[in-house]
């Protein structure tokens, strides 16, 4: 490593320490406090408490069900998503561009909206329970696998594929021996994320699973918020942190594998015709329609079918308070994350470890972070800045990940060229690197804002009556009796979906990069 590179790395780490310190204070400390609480409880009540989640049949069932539903959802998403990803990369058809764009929809749809959308389409066939929860998980995560697979298959080199064919490989053998190994790292990395999201997801599990099929996250929330049973909640959280930590380590390892494609060496896209590609395209679209686009359409229909009285009821004083709070918290949280995320993204390009640290808030359960904050700073929980910092914490990885990826893609030779043309390291960054990063930064901000608009888990745990947001308002409506409240919940969900899409579109309007972020709310 040259001294100038070393200087660059040191400067990066200096910039990176600020967001890392923020993550430390707002994620690691609360989690450590949670762990400490568990430890205290174990000391107080004996070591048997630590093993209680495995000894108690009910608690063991919650943990195993969490892992089982995450595994089943990941497996199904892989089985459906990988072929769809391949089809979308290799076949052209009318409207393909729109389908690819629409794959981003689930990333910007708030959790509660997703849950209600899945209920709107599938609720008449399935009761609250495992099927509905897995359908909800697929709504969010199928697109993640499809996008991962698309990225992987798109990086297959056309010349290498041609070489394989000329050496006697059939299309299937060429796929198995060349295309799949190339795409595998991206697909496995996406699968790790899907597993983590399903494992630590809260909103979907709460609404679609119900108490009978509560995951560990829902159980922790119930124990903290309703039963005030901190000992069990703490040890349960400890075990879930351990399981998530192992998967995060695998994800960090996989996400560092990069596939290089020769420039201009892309496998050509073929036109799908009857008898040649049309069936695979049709099947792919049908799956996407049933699992991703259909639920959203069903939700809109439900909202439009609601009576004028329901619309009036939904958009009462509470809704306006919730809208104002939602926008205020989003603006404050995302503004903070815009700066910290960019700083972290810059620092993260230099080290995989740094990048993994930035991912921590994304792959840690918001319920656990909020629970940790409750234990850590109970005296400050009436302060708005606590909620804003928690929002920023959740938004940082959404900004940092695309920034880090964009910085990594800037050719080091460009910086060298700028330096030999007289630019100082700072000027080289400002004139060469940053302009390349801006579109990804904007895209990250758009994702962060759309996600924060619908934030649910942290808001629910830290919420105060005057901090009502659109998400918590919808949750309240669902808990109130009567058809009018139920209809009002459909109306507000559709309104929240429209707001998320509007925020995303407004911020993303000038960003022309491919979507980079693999993250969304839980």
């Amino acid at each position: 490593m040259t001294p100038s590179t070393r200087r660059g790395l040191n400067a990066s780490h200096l910039v990176g320490w600020v967001p890392l310190l923020f993550i430390l204070v707002w994620a690691v400390l609360p989690l450590a406090r949670l762990g400490w609480e568990g430890w205290l409880q174990v000391q107080d009540m004996g070591w048997s408490l630590l093993w209680q989640p495995w000894q108690d049949a009910y608690l063991r069932g919650r943990v195993l069900w969490s892992v089982a539903q995450a595994s089943a959802s990941t497996g199904l998403a892989l089985v459906l998503g990988v072929p769809i990803g391949w089809v979308l990369v290799r076949w052209h058809f009318w409207g393909r561009q729109w389908v690819v764009r629409a794959l981003m929809l689930p990333f910007v749809i708030p959790t509660l909206v997703a849950a209600l959308a899945v209920m709107a389409l599938w609720g008449s066939w399935f009761e609250q329970g495992p099927v509905l929860l897995i359908l909800g998980n697929l709504f969010f995560n199928l697109c993640l696998i499809v996008r991962g697979a698309m990225g992987g298959f798109d990086s297959v080199s056309a010349s290498r594929l041609a070489a394989a064919r000329s050496l006697g490989a059939t299309p299937w053998r060429a796929f198995w021996r060349l295309e799949w190994p190339t795409a595998k790292p991206a697909v496995w990395a996406a699968a790790c994320l899907v597993f983590l999201y399903c494992l630590s997801g809260f909103g979907l599990a709460l609404l679609l699973g119900g108490q009978a099929w509560a995951t560990a996250e829902v159980e922790i929330y119930t124990r903290v918020a309703h039963d005030l049973d901190l000992p069990i909640a703490s040890v349960l959280a400890l075990w879930m942190l351990l399981i998530s930590g192992l998967v995060v380590a695998v994800y960090a390892r996989l996400s560092l594998s990069r596939v290089e494609r020769l420039r201009g060496d892309r496998v050509p896209v073929r036109m799908a015709r009857w008898g040649n590609g049309a069936w695979s395209v049709g099947l792919s679209l049908l799956v996407l329609l049933a699992l991703n686009f259909g639920p959203l359409a069903a939700l809109l229909v439900r909202a439009l079918q609601a009576s004028p009285a329901a619309w009036q009821h939904a958009w009462g004083d509470e809704a306006w308070l919730a809208l104002g709070n939602t926008l205020r918290f989003t603006v404050l949280g995302v503004s903070l994350a815009a700066v910290l995320g960019a700083m972290h993204g810059w620092a993260a390009r230099a080290s995989g470890w740094w990048r993994a640290m930035g991912m921590a808030p994304l792959v840690t359960s918001p319920v656990m972070i909020a629970f940790g904050l409750l234990l850590l700073w109970p005296q400050w929980l009436d302060q708005l800045w606590v909620l804003v910092c928690a929002y920023a914490l959740l938004a940082i990885p959404l900004v940092a990940a695309p920034v880090a990826q964009a910085v990594q893609q800037v050719s080091p030779r460009w910086v060298d060229a700028a330096r030999t043309l007289g630019a100082t390291p700072w000027r080289a960054f400002w004139r060469v690197v940053w302009p390349q990063v801006i579109p990804s930064w904007r895209r990250g901000l758009a994702f962060a804002a759309a996600t924060m608009v619908g934030e649910f888990a942290v808001t629910l745990l830290l919420s105060r009556p005057e901090w009502l947001t659109l998400s918590t308002y919808i949750y309240q409506l669902l808990g109130r009796p009567g058809a009018l409240n139920a209809q009002a919940a459909w109306v507000m969900s559709a309104s929240l979906m429209a707001l998320s899409l509007l925020v995303f579109t407004l911020l993303d309007v000038r960003s022309n990069t491919k979507p980079e972020s693999d993250a969304r709310s839980k």
Partner: protein, 221 residues
């Protein structure tokens, strides 16, 4: 002598930072003012690394780089006023052709309008006036090459460093551009080091040539 490498010793390291093969062992080399010299060597011989050391982008583990008898080993690249033209041209894709050429001028403190004016003049003399506002992606290989040369040359560097400048071109374009480059360099009385693995390039452009082999340098002509 304008440029001198004195007792330069360097080993390349792998990604883990472990020292591997030698690039230079107690290497001494001199280049006179106004001459074009070629540095030949096979792939992986370390000639590009040597060029990066001269540019200040890397530093030798031992020995010194001197310019006009002054040690510049630890001088930052932007303060050396040497321009390096990269093998892949390293044109900035977010800037237009003229803004690429104006980049170095802006770093020298010239205003935007004045820098652009000079850039267009440089492009005109390269036969690329009509491409000033174009995106660099829309240029052919030969055009990109000329833009890269214009960008390097327009700042009036003390030393022009060319790293395999013709490797991406077909034979016809290669011969034509070699002649163009040679004429340019001579016309502007520039000191130039050409790194190449192709002896024909070296013979066409350079007055003197060396070969870097097994970390030692030997004069060919």
């Amino acid at each position: 002598m304008m440029l001198e490498l004195r007792g330069v010793t360097h080993r390349w390291s792998d990604t883990a930072g472990q020292a591997q093969g030698w690039i230079a062992k107690d290497l001494n080399w001199q280049v006179s003012r106004g001459e074009t010299v070629a540095l030949l060597g096979s792939s992986g011989s370390g000639k590009s690394t040597l060029l990066r050391m001269i540019a200040g982008l890397e530093q030798p583990q031992q020995g010194d780089v001197l310019w006009a008898d002054e040690v510049i080993t630890h001088l930052a690249p932007e303060r050396r006023q040497f321009a390096l033209m990269f093998q892949d041209f390293a044109l900035f894709s977010h800037l237009s052709v003229q803004d690429n050429v104006a980049f170095g001028l802006r770093e020298q403190g010239l205003g935007k309008a004045a820098a652009r004016r000079q850039a267009v003049e440089a492009l005109t003399s390269m036969g690329l006036a009509n491409r000033a506002d174009a995106s660099v992606w829309s240029l052919s290989g030969g055009e990109q090459q000329r833009v890269a040369l214009a960008r390097a040359w327009v700042t009036r560097p003390k030393l022009l460093l060319l790293d395999e400048p013709f490797s991406a071109l077909d034979a016809d374009r290669r011969a034509q551009l070699r002649d163009e480059f040679k004429t340019w360099i001579r016309a502007h009385d520039m000191t130039c080091i050409l790194v190449t693995h192709d002896e024909a390039d070296a013979r066409a452009m350079a007055e003197r040539a060396w070969r870097l082999q097994d970390a030692r340098i030997s004069q060919l002509w």
